[in-house]
Subunit: 310 residues, 2 copies
């Protein structure tokens, strides 16, 4: 059991001890939660992922009520949540680490987890991204296969940092990450996992596909929401192993993210600068249906199913 007596939690406001294991080793978890009109969007999915992560890392986390109370008091304290202010959207970031420790990888004998809650401005995203789609580049930085850490949102994020930095100065809005190739496999045959901060879905013959998150990658909350929605909406969904070629004749490709919702993809360019997917001829039917629920709840523009992306 990883949920603990809340007196063992150290709630940090602005500064963290330099001996905290979150800094020393990335020994902890985080969640980025949309707060829309005063409500935490998909809270149950964030909480579920926190529990999964805590089990994997044998990390002690506060109980759900303590965490929710701490988030709410932080929102009130920042004047972000009050009766006059319910229409303001915010991003809430929660970090939980194994707390202060000495040198050395072994757990502290009496660990006291660190809890950090910070409130961030709601990032705007151009309406054009939702109407016309975003351009993606395939990153050269790959994701190393590590089943012990797959799915959870831990603090070891150098791969994403390096991949995202490949896009600096370009007009690509995000990058696709593949699993690092096995010695016997060429990199173009490497499995696609996700984008640097989003999950990826594609549609073929009215069926939805998304990569399995069992060797690496993050189980995004919107990804989880879509898995539930497809059951209710009778949309066929397959989770599997896919390569770039599988996307080339897709009718729709889209990304999902807890803050931005469903974002359509206009094009995918590989690392040799060859365009591997283009949405020009394809109306976005399934992604539009999903955005009608998800983006609406996030105050983001819906996708238009009857307009051809260009």
């Amino acid at each position: 059991m990883t949920i603990i007596d809340n007196t063992q939690i150290n709630l940090i406001k602005t500064n963290i001890d330099v001996n905290d294991r979150g800094l020393a080793y990335g020994d902890g978890l985080f969640e980025t939660i949309a707060c829309v009109n005063g409500e935490l969007h998909n809270w149950h999915l964030h909480w579920k992922r926190l529990i999964l992560g805590a089990e994997r890392l044998s990390l002690m986390i506060p109980d759900e009520n303590f965490l929710l109370d701490s988030i709410n008091s932080k929102l009130f304290q920042n004047n972000d949540l009050n009766t006059q202010n319910h229409s303001i959207n915010k991003v809430i970031k929660v970090i939980i680490t194994r707390g202060k420790g000495g040198r050395g990888y072994q757990f502290p004998q009496q660990p006291r987890s660190t809890l950090i809650i910070s409130i961030h401005n709601w990032p705007e995203k151009p309406v054009d991204d939702y109407q016309n789609g975003i351009k993606l580049k395939v990153c050269q930085t790959c994701l190393a296969p590590q089943p012990a850490l797959a799915g959870i949102k831990h603090l070891n994020r150098l791969e994403q940092v390096l991949a995202r930095n490949e896009l600096n100065g370009s007009d690509y809005q995000d990058g696709i990450m593949q699993v690092c190739p096995e010695t016997s496999v060429s990199s173009s045959d490497s499995k696609i996992i996700e984008a640097t901060s989003s999950n990826i879905f594609f549609v073929k013959n009215n069926q939805l596909f998304t990569p399995k998150i069992d060797t690496c990658g993050v189980q995004g909350t919107i990804r989880q929401e879509i898995i539930s929605l497809t059951r209710k909406m009778a949309i066929k969904l397959e989770q599997g192993y896919y390569v770039l070629d599988d996307l080339s004749d897709a009718s729709e490709v889209f990304l999902t993210n807890s803050i931005f919702g469903v974002v359509p993809v206009l094009s995918i360019t590989d690392s040799d600068n060859i365009q591997r997917f283009s949405a020009q001829q394809n109306p976005a039917k399934i992604s539009a249906k999903l955005s009608n629920i998800i983006n609406k709840a996030l105050n983001r523009p819906e996708l238009m199913s009857d307009i051809i992306l260009r």
Copy 2:
């Protein structure tokens, strides 16, 4: 060029901003340096590895003089280094992160690196460990192959944290880590990389062997020192890919670490609890020779070449 104008370095004393990317993503590097009789042991190798890491991560680091001055003033300030006190040994930990940033993986537009220097007590290690050797267990937590991060000492250390935690409550002093197996390979055929906080060497027919650090693992400073020493001492050394079976008939196995020096291995037990190496019949000739130089410089016991480990 990653070395910067030192006015862009933010030297942190005890607390770090919760928005520091070192905490958020493990976006940074560290070094753990032995300070013996007032001298930084193998400083040039630590500095070389910092530069390698900074190049890989496109991280800005202070120039060498600034860093040395900062370490020395921290030592003086702690009263750890003065004319009366030259015989005291300390551990110096240097952390350099990409500094404060907003949410999101992209680099800050005007990054200002964070430098943290902390002084720690010199850890004692039982003389028995040096005389009779330590017991190792093969960890189940594997190292994911990620060439972009191999060799450098970055802040993403969850694999080591999980591996080290497997040994809690056991009488194993360290654990051997293998590369995560490719789908087609059984785990017993996985390459050995290192121990959780040490590099590993073994001897066969008077020749020294150590795993290549090109897919994962850390290029330890004592490992680098040994590579140089073998050239001078005309000891044959091979860096390659080895599995557990390669160690079973070794005449010596030892670990190396910047603080503990050369430590002989008494036995290796695999994850099925089968003993795969035992030093009982083998005098430790090459490790004793190396310890004669390395351990002496670190104020650690030398290994005895004429005594059979038991």
